[in-house]
């Protein structure tokens, strides 16, 4: 069978048009625009409530995070780190006095290019379409590749059975078991019912803003447009989605 160049080009153009139309329809069917969930932490507002642990406590209570006294076994979803270390400040002397030696909140960065999901051999951790780096403890085999891959130390491994270390377990959220990895999930269980993450809700200073970066006019979009912000270790190319407004 011989196909003339003209017929071939016509067929190719028809196929390309059909493919483009199909893709556009698929996009419309899935709600059109993609969501890009992110968090902004206003460091100065956070520092105004010195010593506050409301977000950490709210998160750890809501998710049955164990309080293990042995630091080698500790499990944490949200915690505080010295500013210089958290944001890898190379010249601390140039920092404003208010920030020098202060502590900032750190959590999973829900990276746009997460190294942890790439190394997971079982698909127990993956990036959802809305940007949340999710965790399925049912599938976790405890290899800890993700712990090694995360440059932010945002993942904790359960070296011991965590249940005895959860003072008041809530039945609204499962605990984990010995041998699995856990981390912040941006409170996906709360997002599913239209609520904000527990830490954002609990912050007495309103220092945490959560929302959709792709939504024009969203609170987080406005804040990031107006104020200067930094991210943790941007040189690594992980594109963190937790922004520090300073």
């Amino acid at each position: 069978m011989s196909t003339s160049r003209r017929v071939f080009l016509r067929l190719a153009a028809t196929a390309a048009t059909a493919a483009a139309a199909g893709s556009a329809l698929g996009c419309a069917a899935s709600g059109g625009a993609r969501r890009r969930l992110a968090m902004a932490i206003d460091v100065r507002k956070c520092l105004d409530v010195h010593g506050c642990r409301a977000c950490v406590d709210a998160c750890h209570e809501a998710h049955n995070v164990p309080a293990i006294p042995d630091r080698a076994h500790e499990v944490k979803w949200v915690w505080k780190e010295p500013f210089e270390r958290a944001l890898a400040v190379r010249e601390p002397a140039t920092l404003p006095a208010a920030l020098r030696g202060s502590e900032v909140l750190v959590l999973c960065n829900h990276c746009d290019n997460p190294p942890c999901t790439r190394v997971c051999p079982t698909g127990a951790t993956w990036k959802r379409d809305d940007g949340v780096v999710a965790m399925d403890e049912h599938r976790c085999i405890g290899c800890r590749y993700c712990v090694a891959a995360c440059p932010y130390g945002s993942r904790s491994f359960n070296f011991v059975d965590p249940r005895p270390f959860v003072a008041h377990p809530t039945s609204d959220y499962p605990t984990r078991t010995k041998g699995v990895v856990e981390k912040c999930t941006f409170c996906e269980e709360r997002l599913a019912v239209g609520r904000l993450p527990a830490c954002v809700d609990a912050c007495p200073a309103g220092a945490m803003v959560f929302g959709d970066l792709d939504e024009r006019g969203s609170e987080i979009r406005k804040l990031l447009n107006e104020r200067y912000s930094v991210r943790r270790r941007p040189e690594l190319g992980t594109r963190p989605q937790v922004f520090y407004v300073i």
Partner: protein, 138 residues
């Protein structure tokens, strides 16, 4: 074969000993199927009883995957009833109140040890008056 009697007696003793568990079980009381506390007023779970009895674990695994992997939380049963796919909010909590009088009774009877509750937290059993008001039996 000098002493056939002794041989036969020995063999008989061996067979009796080897089959002892069978005789013992047959002679003893017949085990009764566990009685389960069912919510009064509800005629059926989210699927027919026979299916739930045989395959509830498959349904729960399907629920788990849909919630965790796909982010879908609502389940519509064949009667159009919509429930939240949750072990510790719907199965135990909203429908059954006491895990020990439902899940455990069958699992203990059949010697099955599911790992669901290693992580999922059993909701507190409501106080007796609240239980009576909801019509929970046994």
């Amino acid at each position: 074969m000098r002493r056939p009697t002794l041989l036969v007696a020995g063999l008989a003793a061996f067979v009796a000993l080897a089959t002892w568990p069978v005789w013992h079980a047959l002679a003893g009381p017949r085990p009764t199927a566990p009685e389960l506390a069912r919510p009064v007023g509800a005629t059926e779970c989210v699927a027919p009883t026979d299916y739930m009895r045989a395959s509830h674990m498959k349904l729960l695994v399907e629920w788990r995957d849909r919630v965790v992997r796909d982010g879908v939380r609502a389940y519509t049963d064949r009667h159009g009833r919509v429930v939240t796919m949750s072990l510790s909010k719907t199965c135990i909590g909203a429908c059954h109140t006491d895990k020990t009088k439902f899940c455990d009774r069958c699992h203990d009877y059949t010697g099955v040890k599911p790992t669901c509750w290693d992580c999922h937290v059993v909701p507190p059993v409501p106080a007796p008056p609240a239980l009576a008001a909801r019509g929970e039996v046994r």
